[in-house]
Amino acid sequence: MIFAIGALGLLVAMLLALSRALLGPTLLDRVMAVNMFVTTPLLLLAVLGYLGGRPEFLDLALVYALMNFIGIIAVLKYFRYRDLGQSRARS
């Protein structure tokens, strides 16, 4: 029961974060919203594992955490240098 209420709360939070990602207004607002959005499915995954009584699946949440980080760094590197290949000197 408690895990189900927690999951529902997380779903509401996902909806709110998603609406910020869709509203914008600037591109970086969307990046920020996506960054925040990824944390909530991660938590939802952990809670769902407990709700179903099979918490071994936390590995997947770990993958989420790492992928989120790699993704955001790639996005912001692209943002700054317009390229992923070389790291140029800072302007």
């Binding site: 992928m67 993704g71 302007s91």
Partner: protein
Amino acid sequence: MNLDSGIPLGDWEAIINVALLGLLLLVTIGIIRVRNLFAVVMLAGIYSLLMALVFTLLDAVDVAFTEAAVGAGVSTILSLGTLALIDSRREKVPNRFQFVPLLVSLAAGAVLFWGMQDMPAVGSADAPNQVHVAPYYITQTQADIDVPNIVTAVLASYRGFDTLGEVTVIFTAGIGVMMLLSAMPVIGARRRRRREDDDGDGDKAPNDGGNA
């Protein structure tokens, strides 16, 4: 390994499934509406994460793993690499209502729905694929191969030659892409120079997002 259909969530399963699918629908509408390719790439990443959650609910944890790692991580980075090579800012916006594509997708959806009628229920124990070789894998993997993860055992041992062929194909494709990309920096540099001529500062991030 337990053979239940999906994670046994009880009454909550329907609510959570509907909520997740609703979010998927919202993201899809966002992908269609947003007119900035960069934002579209990030929304596609969100789509993959939600999809991985749905797979987890269907008890396909290995697929969810792949979806989270490849769909949300690697393919986002590859799309960004593509955006760095192409000119992503000038995009033609169709101002006319496109009737034929809508018709085609509606027809395809209808055919899929029609085909779904003959499918067995999700996770039912007497579905054809569950009674063929699956019971053998589930009961014998531990004795035959002694690896805890059955999916890994099937991929790497029972169907090892199959996987070897797939890996060869992917390796060949990777070499092809690398050869293409090694020719690309020239094009990328030219484009960057043109961009810098355009707006003075090629390195600054654009502020033109959000005109959704």
